[in-house]
Symmetry: C2
Subunit: 339 residues, 2 copies
């Protein structure tokens, strides 16, 4: 997943203020009882990220007319769940870099990385079960179950050239979108929103999250290595089934399918680096030629529309306008990025 180190250029002034609030909270208030783990988490936090999930929580609070500054810990837990999954992802993928900074697993070892993630999850649940009413703890637990379930499903989908779009979407919902949905939902719940508004904000987060994952997939084809913090075409190298590839396979001819099958059929370790770079560049061109990138932009725009439509129960407010702008930002970035 991509996490650039700066807030989106499209963010409004108020939205940037929320970003600063979350940053300050992490810088001044976050610690656990274990200094090794606190240090591992602080380093992951210091490596950047847009803090989108906590901003969803705080915007959902504001959408209900409540004071965002009263809900900073809850917002922070949303980012920390994300951080915990990143720490464990470092172990899982043997990633050597993450957000352009050394991965936790490289600096601290696999042992501490697994334990740091476990501790972080347990610490979050300890605090949430002590301080938040039902159903907030249950939503967070269900979300973490979904994220890990989605990651297992994704792992099993590697190299499955016949993966249906519906299966891709289920994975994207579980591993990415549910946390955005939960972030907005819990902010709404804690600010006493009506069930209709809670659902509106959850739906918004869900659709936003699907579009976010699709944009992440698209950027693997069209962004630069500096922007990604990892090599371009990395998903292809790892034989992942991303949405541009799936959509291209759905409409492309037998040449595309056989080219993908040839590359995805080779074990990564048996392919020389130069050879892989040439093969990946070839696949990127073929996916684009088959319309995979254009169709992905359309799909992103579609989920952005649904996210915005979900917000109807909020009425007109500056917070709604900010949420709309955030979603529009995804569609705009998808449209602007070309090879």
């Amino acid at each position: 997943m991509i996490d650039r180190s700066k807030p989106l250029a499209t963010a409004t002034r108020s939205d940037n203020e929320l970003y600063e609030l979350v940053e300050d909270f992490f810088a001044t208030s976050f610690s656990t009882d274990n200094i090794v783990i606190t240090e591992a988490v602080r380093r992951m936090l210091a490596a950047g990220g847009k803090r989108l999930r906590p901003r969803f929580t705080l915007l959902a609070v504001e959408a209900n007319g409540a004071d965002a500054t009263q809900h900073l810990p809850l917002a922070a837990y949303m980012e920390l769940i994300h951080v915990g999954t990143l720490i464990h992802d470092d172990v899982v993928d043997n990633a050597s870099t993450r957000r352009g900074v050394n991965a936790t697993a490289i600096d601290f070892g696999n042992k501490v990385s697994v334990l740091a993630g476990d501790y972080l999850f347990a610490w979050i649940f300890k605090n949430v079960t002590a301080n938040y009413p039902h159903p907030v703890p249950n939503i967070l637990a269900s979300t973490l179950a979904d994220i890990t379930d989605g990651e297992v499903l994704q792992h099993r989908a590697v190299g499955r050239l016949d993966l249906p779009v519906a299966d891709y979407t289920e994975i994207a919902i579980k591993k990415t979108a549910t946390l955005f949905a939960a972030s907005a939902e819990c902010g709404a719940i804690m600010s006493g929103a009506t069930p209709l508004r809670i659902k509106a904000l959850r739906d918004y987060g869900m659709y936003y999250g699907i579009a976010f994952q699709m944009l992440d997939d698209l950027l693997d084809f069209v962004a630069t290595e500096a922007e990604l913090g990892k090599p371009v075409g990395n998903d292809l190298r790892e034989h992942k089934m991303t949405i541009p590839l799936i959509l291209a396979l759905g409409s492309g001819g037998p040449d595309l399918k056989s080219a993908v099958a040839r590359f995805y059929g080779m074990s990564s370790s048996s392919v020389a680096a130069d050879e892989a770079t040439v093969a990946v560049a070839d696949l990127v061109s073929r996916v684009e030629a088959a319309g995979g990138l254009a169709k992905t932009r359309e799909a992103i725009a579609g989920y952005v529309e649904r996210a915005k439509m979900s917000l109807a129960p909020l009425g007109n407010s500056s917070t709604r306008a900010e949420l709309v702008a955030l979603a529009d930002g995804l569609a705009r970035e998808g449209a602007a990025r070309t090879r």
Copy 2:
């Protein structure tokens, strides 16, 4: 940690019935929504274990005159927390065997092992936050935080020849005893026990757990490889600071200390297998000569006494007698095992 595949020979008929109840529950009722993860957990469960933690929950229920069969899911969650930590421990330690059966990480890969453990923890919390009142979810979350905190502390204590007994005890409490304490405590809470009885059962579990960990440490010196499911002296090979070693260092002369320092100062990979076996056998003899094993047996007996004394508020009952017998079993096993 040692988990033999059969119930203790000292178990009473009723206690064996509880063991069967838990086994039946796992065999017939346990599954998650993810088949890969369900399979990973089932394999870990099938590899055996005494199911001590769920039996603590069920005995605590019975100690309050309630029906154990009504609390099987709660009891099962206690074992599953333990199973989750074992699955992650496989990744952490690169263990090649666990309970004599292939480790999860070997069969399924590190990636799935990390995710399976995460999913299992999240799935437990999803169920517990949905179905159990405060403070049960909070106790489970705090316990998992303690376990992982204790494991990080233990990891940092590797090779620290000056580790105080108090630090060892803190680690044993966190990584082992809190789960026994929580298992008994939650059973007591859910059967409507008085605060005094809840505390009695929690204290019992805590003292039992410390003695259990100390016996586990002792067995690494005196049991056979077949019993342990791993090589004898494995803790020494891994440069761990176990209680027999710590107590021996506290009373042994400079020869012992320099022998330990020499072996613990070598990187494990630089020592030939034969050489390590000779060095470990030498250290075992030196620890025994310095009284490390005898003092450990005394320490175990001391915690067993405290565990039994904690049960005073329960009055006289057959359940209390069973709990006493379980604790006595640890002291008896510690006393009986000689080299």
